[in-house]
């Protein structure tokens, strides 16, 4: 607990506070822009944070992530334009409340439920993080192999309705990350004799392309919604609405944080699940879809609790559970910091400052968001003919600036088209990204196991536990999608 408090104090240093504030502000601005979700926001802005010190970079990225989630909810409630998939659920009841002239209470409930879920999630990460990291210290190649297989199976099964499509796209991700010079063997793979491909595809331009440019191209196909003037006369909800919202938020947090620890259980999936369960067990299910406060609170709390749950495996095990976490992992590796159990021991101050910054970012967003609702609404009304070229320029400059390479710029352009194409043809992107990040771990641990002797797997019960979990995730995914449908 002392370490956690020290982390909060360190996060409150003027410099870190400034990074958190700027991250929340920029994240919210980007998040309210129609069509740009949290993953896209982090992907687009990531290259510009690599100029900050390591703590500042992670604090800024986490704050951008939170800010864009809040921003997405604001446009979902006011304009029925969800910035990302998880905000679709918020829009169901949030927009109905806006139409009924209750936009203020809807925004306030969303902000309060997100804030409380974020704070509870931060405390749980601080409590469970060190013990999870200690457990992971005993992991060898066999356990990491099992963990990679479990993560990839779970994300393939849970990220979309078709397991087969998830599995295919995950294998494509494993193939793409294998392109280039293999450092362990000193051999070039899938380079076809070209020197440009020997450096492989850097994760930053790949992610900017898939999520930033891909989303921008998709914007042209969709009606981005027309904002009718919303009057926010009353901001605070009534006592009854508060009680309903808080209870729903608490239930959604209790459901989404533990499930968020599992790979593939992205905020988008869990917000659907939390909303469905809340409606199922409600005494007044007929109110859902017609402006139910509990619906807004459940979706928003679930979103934030799952985001916090996603952070724990990243920090303690070094395993990302979704695309945003994969980007944050990439950000840490820029500084040579490898997330995982050793980070908690070798860089304890850094870890606690980052965890403290989760807390601070939640407070900043609560203070920042509600009073500035009018500003967010104006930003959201920027015409897409001005918005898209500006974001595209941002994406290309970001991709170029990582290694000052024109090759990276073209990688970004090609992956932008690929991202648009895959989304258009309803292929899930999350397994591709996770495979891209986990591929090297999977390959190196498999090689080490083979070098030691494959029989070593028989002596490692944790490996088999992960294999059982992988099988369970396949079974669970079928039930989950049925429940959501």
């Amino acid at each position: 607990m002392d370490a956690f408090l020290a982390g909060i104090l360190a996060a409150c240093s003027p410099q870190n506070l400034a990074f958190a504030f700027m991250g929340c502000l920029i994240g919210t601005i980007v998040g309210v822009l129609p069509g740009i979700g949290a993953v896209s926001a982090v992907a687009i802005l990531f290259p510009f944070t690599v100029y900050l010190p390591p703590e500042g970079m992670i604090i800024a990225l986490i704050s951008i992530y939170y800010g864009s989630m809040y921003g997405g909810s604001t446009t979902a409630i006011l304009m029925k334009v969800p910035g990302e998939v998880s905000s679709i659920v918020t829009a169901i009841d949030g927009y109905e409340m806006t139409k009924q002239g209750r936009a203020g209470p809807a925004l306030a409930i969303a902000a309060i439920a997100s804030f409380l879920a974020g704070i509870i999630g931060t405390i749980l990460v601080a409590t469970l993080g060190p013990s999870t990291a200690r457990l992971a210290l005993g992991f060898g190649p066999a356990e990491y192999l099992g963990l990679s297989i479990f993560s990839l199976t779970a994300i393939a099964a849970l990220s979309g309705r078709s397991l087969l499509r998830g599995a295919i796209i995950a294998v494509v991700g494993l193939i793409l990350v294998s392109v280039g010079y293999d450092e362990a063997a000193g051999l070039a793979r899938l380079t076809f004799g070209t020197t440009a491909l020997q450096q492989g595809f850097n994760i930053v331009p790949v992610m900017i392309g898939l999520f930033g440019l891909g989303e921008m191209l998709r914007i042209y196909e969709e009606e981005t919604g027309h904002f009718s003037k919303v009057r926010i006369e009353k901001l605070m909800p009534s006592r009854e609405e508060c009680a309903l919202g808080l209870a729903a938020g608490a239930r959604a947090t209790a459901l989404s944080f533990p499930l968020g620890l599992l790979p593939g259980m992205l905020p988008s999936v869990l917000s659907f699940l939390a909303y469905t369960l809340e409606k199922h067990f409600s005494k007044t299910p007929e109110k859902f879809g017609k402006g139910a406060v509990a619906g807004v609170a459940a979706a928003e709390a679930s979103n934030n609790a799952a985001a916090m749950g996603n952070l724990l495996p990243l920090m303690a095990l070094g395993v990302p559970t979704g695309p945003t976490m994969a980007l944050i992992l990439g950000a840490l590796t820029v500084y040579g910091l490898a997330p995982g159990p050793m980070l908690f021991i070798a860089q304890a101050d850094f870890v606690w400052t980052v965890i403290g910054s989760f807390f601070v970012a939640n407070v900043i967003l609560l203070v920042l968001n509600l009073p500035l609702v009018g500003v967010w609404v104006r930003i959201a009304a920027i015409p897409k003919a001005i918005l898209t070229p500006a974001v595209m320029v941002l994406c290309l400059v970001g991709a170029f600036s990582v290694r000052n390479s024109m090759f990276d710029l073209w990688v970004c352009v090609v992956f932008g088209f690929l991202g648009w194409l895959l989304t258009r043809a309803k292929w899930p992107l999350a397994p591709l990204v996770l495979a891209y990040v986990l591929g090297p771990m999977l390959e190196s641990s498999a090689r080490q196991v083979i070098e030691l002797s494959p029989l070593v797997l028989l002596e490692r019960p944790l490996f088999w536990m992960f294999i059982v979990l992988a099988a369970l995730s396949l079974w669970f995914s079928r039930r989950l999608w049925r429940a959501i449908e």
Partner: protein, 157 residues
């Protein structure tokens, strides 16, 4: 699904299967090359992994081919705009190296506003000029290097 949608979906699915099988074959072929041709201590490890991935992709794709057809592509008005948007993006990426950041950004942002937003040429150019110079100033202040192009010596920055 209507007949037209079924035909379109079948075309898209066939294209997907073709691309995936080709990718699987290329990856497997590269793996076989390592194992059979490269005389390297770790060729079997590296090539074996490639062969495993390639074959896995081929097998999964064949299973996918057997699955019933689902609607997976809709032609919308937005497709034309997306094509223009992507075309301008490619033109921007291609021109950055030669023309440099400021000139290419000015041209491309103005083109976007004119072609996709229907703004008048003069106002498009004015907004694009402000955006290009202000953003160039911001990036250089943040110490982010930009492509300068062949005309960099003529331009103030």
């Amino acid at each position: 699904m209507s007949d037209e949608q079924t035909v379109r979906s079948r075309l898209v699915k066939n294209a997907e299967i073709g691309i995936l099988l080709l990718l699987g074959a290329v990856v497997t072929g590269d793996g076989i090359r390592f194992v059979l041709v490269t005389r390297h201590l770790r060729a079997l490890e590296v090539g074996g992994y490639q062969i495993l991935l390639g074959l896995l992709l081929i097998i999964l794709t064949l299973f996918y081919a057997l699955k019933p057809l689902a609607e997976n592509w809709r032609i919308s008005e937005g497709n034309r705009n997306t094509a223009i948007g992507y075309g301008l993006l490619v033109a921007y990426a291609a021109s950055l190296h030669g023309l440099g950041y400021i000139i290419s950004t000015l041209i491309v942002v103005a083109a976007y506003m004119r072609l996709l937003g229907g703004y008048r040429m003069a106002s498009s150019l004015a907004v694009a000029a402000i955006f290009a110079t202000a953003s160039a100033w911001l990036w250089t202040t943040l110490m982010i290097s930009l492509p300068r192009g062949y005309f960099s010596t003529w331009i103030f920055w």
